[in-house]
């Protein structure tokens, strides 16, 4: 029996009708990307600012006051407590009331004026390294600039800016370190994986569970027709999701879009197909909808954790990077970030496009073989 467009069309049509009847799932396909965009875009921030800081000052001079002011002006620190003793400050840090404790020792101003290079102690609660990392980096520059206004004239030579070690930070592509620029494009990959894999994984399992599979198998329809027919409608859904996130990225988060949107659409198609093949393959393995759901979640976790969406890809050990390299979402994230933030073209994108294509072909071949033609 050869493939028939009429039969394939019948399956596609049926899937579309069923999709439109399932109002809740249909609403979720649009609402999920939007909700996640807002949730993750605003909630996840690897560059937290206004971190609570306690200042214990044993030296109250114009100089130290301006130092504290400069600290606050950096945006990273917010002086919320001014304990009288160091012990009290330590306690606040210990219980987590503040993230940082700045101690200005007695005689700081005098020592500075004499050119003795006095020490300031900044204790950080580094339990969450990402939370403190950027703030600590900022303090390096602070020393150089904060006291520049105060140390004029005869004291100019004492300006710490002349110190041999000045922190230099270069952040390319996202100079302000805005997490949303990184998270929002990444969301396209995660949201697509989530809906594409889950929705299609349920597809064949639903037919099994509702008993409609027996009827489908009794009719002259090919496994490939059923699989492709189930996949096709979700390509449309996937594009709607990409559009929702891109619009949100532009209007809510002002994420730069330097590269070609046409190229992005093309790569999205490749990624959507890769995700769908995984879903349909799960679907043909699972005996019921619960199993299909479990498999999707099991697949989803590495997609979020090992793809470079949540955590820096280069921070992972080699074996974890190897797993990440297999996942289509890893490559898609690099493509999306590359096109949007770096203005990548086809030449750069190609290196990440072909692994997704290979992945789809291998998985679809596995899935079509698994698809049962009988009830055995």
């Amino acid at each position: 029996m050869s493939l028939s467009l009429l039969r394939l069309g019948a399956v596609v049509r049926k899937e579309f009708i069923q999709m439109s009847r399932d109002r809740l799932s249909f609403a979720m396909m649009v609402a999920v990307p939007l909700a996640q965009l807002v949730l993750f875009g605003y909630a996840i921030n690897f560059d937290p600012r206004g971190l609570p800081t306690a200042v214990v000052s044993a030296d109250n001079s114009a100089l130290t006051r301006s130092l504290v002011a400069a600290l606050q002006n950096s945006g990273y620190f917010k002086v919320t407590e001014r304990p009288d003793t160091l012990a009290e400050g330590e306690r606040l840090l210990d219980i987590g009331r503040v993230q940082f404790l700045l101690e200005i020792p007695a005689g700081f101003t005098r020592a500075l004026v004499r050119g003795e290079r006095p020490a300031l102690l900044l204790a950080a609660d580094a339990a969450d390294p990402t939370a403190a990392g950027n703030a600590l980096a900022a303090i390096g520059e602070l020393g150089a600039s904060a006291l520049r206004h105060e140390l004029k004239g005869a004291l100019a030579a004492r300006a710490p800016g002349a110190a041999p070690f000045e922190m230099r930070l270069h952040r390319r592509y996202n100079p302000e370190g805005i997490t949303a620029y990184n998270i929002v494009p990444g969301l396209i990959g995660v949201v697509l994986t989530m809906t594409m894999v889950m929705m299609t994984a349920m597809g064949v399992a639903r037919e099994l569970e509702r008993g409609t599979m027996e009827n489908l198998l009794a009719m002259p329809v090919q496994p490939l027709e059923v699989m492709v027919g189930k996949i096709a409608p979700y390509i449309v859904v996937g594009y709607v999701q990409v559009a929702v996130i891109l619009l949100g990225a532009h209007f809510l988060f002002a994420v730069p879009m330097l590269g070609s949107l046409t190229l992005l659409s093309l790569c999205s198609l490749l990624f959507i197909v890769a995700s769908l093949t995984i879903g349909v393959t799960f679907s043909s393995i699972a005996r019921n909808m619960t199993q299909a759901m479990q498999m999707s979640i099991f697949f989803l976790l590495p997609c979020i954790l090992l793809s470079g969406f949540m955590f820096p890809f280069r921070g992972m050990p080699g074996w974890a990077q190897a797993i990440g390299e297999v996942l289509p979402v890893t490559h898609f994230l690099r493509i999306v970030r590359g096109i949007l933030l770096k203005g990548h073209g086809w030449a750069e994108v190609w290196h990440h496009a072909w692994p997704m294509a290979v992945f789809s072909i291998v998985v679809l071949a596995l899935g079509a073989r698994r698809f049962r033609r009988t009830l055995d």
């Binding site: 009708i17 399932d22 409609t212 027996e214 009827n215 009794a218 009719m219 033609r373 009988t374 009830l375």
Partner: protein, 255 residues
């Protein structure tokens, strides 16, 4: 066409070491309504599924409409109408959409006309836009029958089509089956209602995967009425008493 429409010999199937069908041999002749009787779990559904190519038998062989049940699956699927025990059309599709889906899968021509004709015949024209899931048991069964007839099959396999259907709808359903048989369609129908058994041309009793007896209702009554140990219980029909008698006898043989 004369002769056997279904011919199986020594058909066996086990699930997880449990024998569901044990060396079943039987034949169904062209144009007859063949009743397949047996208690729940006796192997009726498994047998029917093997006959229409949905299950691979462990042993034995057979043909359906002249096609081998192993190698001729695709051909069997095109020519057989199969009505599953459980309603297996899409509840979230309307009556019309379900029928349209089926005619497309069979690649029929004049599709809209065929769907219209089926709706007309069913008396469902006014309710064609209703979702299949909202239909009552009797209407679902009529829809399933109509859908399984869309591709003009020469053989209908009906697996307990009247389970959970009220007596009035059941009577109408059987009248429809006789009309179809008169048109030349062969019907194999499984049931455990004895009044339905009496309306079949020929019957096969099956229990615990074994064929117990085969013949016309009259033949079966004549053959087993005088069996030693046969008791008339005054059931709905003589056939029921014979059915119970055969069951007891096979249980005795097993023990």
């Amino acid at each position: 066409m004369t002769g056997a429409v279904i011919e199986v010999e020594g058909l066996s199937k086990s699930f997880g070491g449990k024998r569901a069908v044990n060396g079943l041999s039987m034949s169904v002749r062209a144009g007859e309504i063949f009743g397949f009787l047996g208690p729940n779990g006796s192997g009726k559904t498994t047998s029917i599924r093997m006959m229409c190519g949905l299950l691979t038998p462990d042993g034995g062989r057979g043909t359906t409409l002249g096609h081998d049940i192993l190698s001729g699956r695709d051909a069997i699927k095109r020519q057989v109408g199969y009505m599953t025990q459980r309603f297996s059309y899409y509840e979230d599709l309307s009556i019309r959409e379900n029928l349209e889906f089926v005619v497309r899968l069979y690649e029929m021509d004049r599709r809209a006309q065929r769907v219209d004709a089926a709706l007309e015949r069913l008396g469902l024209v006014s309710r064609q836009k209703q979702l299949a899931g909202s239909l009552s048991g009797g209407w679902k069964q009529r829809l399933a029958l109509a859908a399984s007839l869309l591709h003009e099959p020469r053989l209908l396999l009906l697996d307990e089509p009247t389970a959970g259907v009220d007596p009035g709808a059941r009577r109408e359903f059987w009248e429809e089956l006789h009309r179809l048989a008169a048109e030349g369609i062969t019907v194999l129908v499984s049931t455990h209602y004895m009044d339905e058994a009496a309306r079949c041309h020929r019957l096969a009793y099956i229990a615990y995967g074994n064929l117990l007896a085969q013949g016309t209702p009259d033949e079966l009554v004549a053959r087993f009425e005088r069996d030693p140990g046969f008791e008339a219980h005054g059931g709905v029909s003589r056939l029921e008493d014979i059915f119970i008698h055969l069951m007891k006898r096979s249980q005795g043989a097993e023990a």
